[in-house]
Symmetry: C2
Subunit: 541 residues, 2 copies
Amino acid sequence: MNIVIIGGVAGGMSAAARLRRLDESATITVVERSGHVSFANCGLPYHVGGVIPERSALLLQTPEALRARFELDVRVQTEAVRIDRDRRVVVVRSLMGGSESELPYDALVLAPGARPVRPAIPGIERALALRSVEDTDAMVAAVAGARTAVVVGGGFIGVETAENLLHRGLAVTMVEATPQVMAPLDPEMGAPVHAALREAGIDLRLSASVTAIGERDVELSTGERVPADLVVAAIGVRPDTGLAQAAGLEIGARGGIVVDDHLRTSDPAIYAVGDAVEKADALDGSPVLVPLANTANLQGRRVADLIAGRDVRDRPVLGTAIVGVLGLQVATVGWNEKRLVAAGRAHRVIHTHPLSHAGYYPGAQGLALKLLVDPGTDAILGAQAVGRDGADKRIDVIATAMRGGLTASDLAELELAYAPQFGSAKDPVNMLGFVDENLASGLTDSIQWHEVEDAQRDGVTVVDVRTPEEFAAGAIPGAVNVPVDEVRDRLDEVPEGDLVVHCAVGVRAHLATRILQASGRSVRNLDGGYRTWVAGMASRS
Amino acid sequence: MNIVIIGGVAGGMSAAARLRRLDESATITVVERSGHVSFANCGLPYHVGGVIPERSALLLQTPEALRARFELDVRVQTEAVRIDRDRRVVVVRSLMGGSESELPYDALVLAPGARPVRPAIPGIERALALRSVEDTDAMVAAVAGARTAVVVGGGFIGVETAENLLHRGLAVTMVEATPQVMAPLDPEMGAPVHAALREAGIDLRLSASVTAIGERDVELSTGERVPADLVVAAIGVRPDTGLAQAAGLEIGARGGIVVDDHLRTSDPAIYAVGDAVEKADALDGSPVLVPLANTANLQGRRVADLIAGRDVRDRPVLGTAIVGVLGLQVATVGWNEKRLVAAGRAHRVIHTHPLSHAGYYPGAQGLALKLLVDPGTDAILGAQAVGRDGADKRIDVIATAMRGGLTASDLAELELAYAPQFGSAKDPVNMLGFVDENLASGLTDSIQWHEVEDAQRDGVTVVDVRTPEEFAAGAIPGAVNVPVDEVRDRLDEVPEGDLVVHCAVGVRAHLATRILQASGRSVRNLDGGYRTWVAGMASRS
C-alpha cells in the first residue's frame, strides 16, 4: 500500500509514525514544504525569546532519523503542486532543484496546516510570521538589530510573541482590532490579561488596527505612527486549502477542508487532518476551525487507524486551549458567553475567584474562573480560567468532566487530590459545582456584573456586605454598606424592595443572601462579586 | 430545630456552615474537644517545619468569628461524654471547669474524626502525634531542644512529618513495618519515594518496627538502638467511635460508624460524617475507611443538605489522594494492584514514564504513571503518579474520568490544554489511553516487570532495543541487545522462540514489537520498560 502524506508536522507526522506501527509493509512518503519536519511549532516563540536557547531543541526529528526508525520517505523542501485524483497521483516539486515528480497513492493524507492571515495593507511584505523554523530564523535575525516591535493581533501567537520580544529587550506595541486580546475569553475575564501585558511594559492598543507598515514604523487607524523596527503579523491563521481546492475537494463554509467522521474528504481515497480541516463542534455539531496541536495530533493518529482498517471515528472537539502570558495562565474549554449570546443559547454564568491552593500554605495564587452551564440540562457548556497557577489543572478537569457527560452540579462531588500545596479540601472545581447546585436548585439567584446598572435603574438596591474598609476603598455607585456579620442585626436598615447583594467574590454575599431571604426579602447575589464587576467595567472602558 | 454537631474541623464545620446557610432559624451547636475549631489540620506538619511560619495561619476561625458570621454556638475544650438517644440529648463536659450539661437535639451529627494508632510498646507515652493544634504546639516545643527524631510509620503524615523535621535540622530515622512507605502505591511505584527520602538524608528502615521507646532512643525489631530525642507515632488512624459505640450505634467490620447513603447511623436522628465513618467504595461498594479531608468536607456539606430536607445522597468514594515528599508529588486514585490481586480481580497494568511538559521547553520533569484497567470492560480501576511536577493534574483528570465513567481507551481522546509549559500535544494521560487501546484491541501484548524472570525460565528471550551505550550501562540479565533502528536489518539475529522486547520506557519497544510481529514473531512489550523493571527489582531487595 502506497500512502502519501502532505505536511510533516503535528497531524501529518503523527499519522506517518502510527501508520508504520500499524503496517510494517506500507510505503509511506511524507512531503513537507519547509525544510523541517516534526519540529516543535509551539516552541517557536520561546526560541525567539531565548527561553529555549538552542535552535536544535526545536528540531525533534530529521528525515534521516525518521527513515532509520520508521522507514519513512520524508521529503522536505518539497511542495505538492497538484493532485491527479483519477490517476491517484500527487505531483510534487523540489523547492531546491525545481524538478517535478509523481507520487502514486492508495491513500492520500492532507495535513497542510494553516497559513497566517496577512491583511492587504501597504508594507505588509515586511511583516514577519511565526509558523515554521524558517520564520523563526528570520525573526531571530531581525530581533538582533531591532529596538522596537509592533505585534499585530492579540491572540495566542500574538501574546506569546510579544512576551518573547520583551524578553529580548525590545519595546513592544501590541495592536488588537477588537476591544480585547485573547478572543476565547469573555471581556471581564480578559481584564487581568490586559493588566499583565501593560504591567510588563507592553504598549497595548485595543480597538485599533494597522493601516500601513512603513520602513521603521507603522501607521495606526488612530492616525498615530508607532516605531517598529520589527513587525509581526499574528492576526490568525486560515486553513491551507490551495491544493485541496485545486483538486476539486469540498471546502466548507468556514474555509476548511470538509471531512466526514472517517476523516475522508469528498474523495474517499483522500483524507485530511489538522488545522486545514473543519471539525465538528462538541456542543452543537456545527463545523468549526480549531487550529490546535492536540487536535491535530489526535486526528493524525485516528487517520492512521482508519487507513489501516481499524474501527475508530473522529470525535467532535471541545477546543481545550491554554497560553502562558507573562506568568499568567489563560485556559479555556468549550463555548464562551459571547458565542452563547450570539447563538441565542440559554446559559447560566458562574464566576469565582478561588486560590490555586490552600490559603494557609505559602505561594497560593488567585484564580479567576468562569463556568457556563445549560440551565435546562445543567450540562457544562464551557469554562475559562486565568491565574498564575493551577488554571491548567482546573480546565483539564472540566474538559474531562465535559467529555464524561458530568453536569455542572456533579463538579461538586468530584474527588480531587488534596494536600495544601496542590489544592483545597474543597477544590475550586468543587466550589463551581456548589455554586451551580445552589442556582440550579433555586436555593439562590444571581445577577451578572453587566446587569447591575439596569437593575438599579429599575429600583433595585445594591447591598455591599464587605467591611467598611473595603467599601471605602472602592464600591459600586449607589451601593449601601452593611457588613455581612451585621446583616442579622441591621435588617431594618436595608432599604425596601428587591436587592442585589455582593461582597468581594461572592462567598460572604451568599450567606447574606440567605439571611435576607429568610427575612422574606427578594435577593440576588452579584455573581463573582465586586472583583468580577470591576473587571467587567474595566473591559467596557 | 436544634442541631448538635460533635467535632468542629473538616466535616463538622462544613456541616455547621452549610446548615446555617440552609436554615437561618436553626439552633446549631458545635462541640469540639480540642481548643480550636476549623483549623488547618493538613497544614500542621508544615508549621512544625517552619514552612508555615505563623501559628495563627493554622487557625482559620475562632468561636467568636463563627458566632458573628454564622450564629453558631461553638464550644471548644468541650467533650461529648454520652448520648441519651431516648431523650435526644447529648451530655457534654467542659474540659476547663469539668461541669456537665445537656444539649437537646432534633438532629445530631457525629464528626469526631479519627485518633492516631498508638502501638502497645514500652515508652509509647513519649511518642508525639500530629492531629490537633495542641499536638503541633507540643511538637514545636519538643523540636526546639532536639537533634534526633524517629518517625514511626511511612504513610502520609509520616513522610510529611519526617520532611518537616528535616527542615528543622533534625537527623531523622523513619521506621516502617512493611517493605514500603506510602501504602497506596504499588512497590515499583514506591521506589522513587524511597530514593527521595534517602537522598534527603533520612535514615529509612523498612520492614522494621519499634519494639520499645527509651528516654533518648528507640529499640528496633532488628535489635539496634536508634537515637531519638523526639519520637513521632504516625502509624495510621482509627475512627474515633467511642461515643457512638457507647450509645449503641452500629459499628462496621472496618471499625467505623455505619451510615446509609443519607449519612444516617442506625439511629435515624443521628448522622455521622468524615474519618469516623465507613464509606462505600466506588469500585465494589464494600465498606472502606478513607480518612481524607476532601471526603470529610463533602460529607459535611451533604449531611447539612440532608438534615435540611434536600434530596442528595452520599456517594461512593474513589479515595483520590496526594502528598508532597521532598519535592516529589505522590498521587493516587482508586485501587492499586496489591488490592486487585488480593481481591482476585482481573486487571490490566500500564506503566509509563512521560515528561510533565514538552521536553523541548525548559523545566520538564519525569513522571512515573501507572494505570489499572478492567480487561473485561476497559473501566479504569485506579491510577498512581509520582513525579516533581504535574502528578496532581494527571490524577485529578483520571479521577474525573473515572467519575464520568470514561474507559481507559477514552483517555486517548481527551482534549487537554496544551502549551509547551503545561503539557504535551499528546498529554501523558492521552498516552495512557493510547497504550491501553493498543492492548485492549489486541494490537500488542505486554508483560510486567515481575513476570520476566519466569518467562526467561520458560525459554523466552529478552530483546533490549535500546542503544549499545544504554545496554552497557545496565541491562536485564540474559537480554540480547538489538537497537530499535537496526531491528529490521537484523531480524535473523533475533533468537527463535517467544520474545520479550523492551527499551527504557516502552515507546521504542512498541515499534520494535510491531516490526517483529510483522515478521511472524510472538512478542510481548515489557510494560514501562527497563525503568519500571529496575524500580520493581529495587522494591524486592
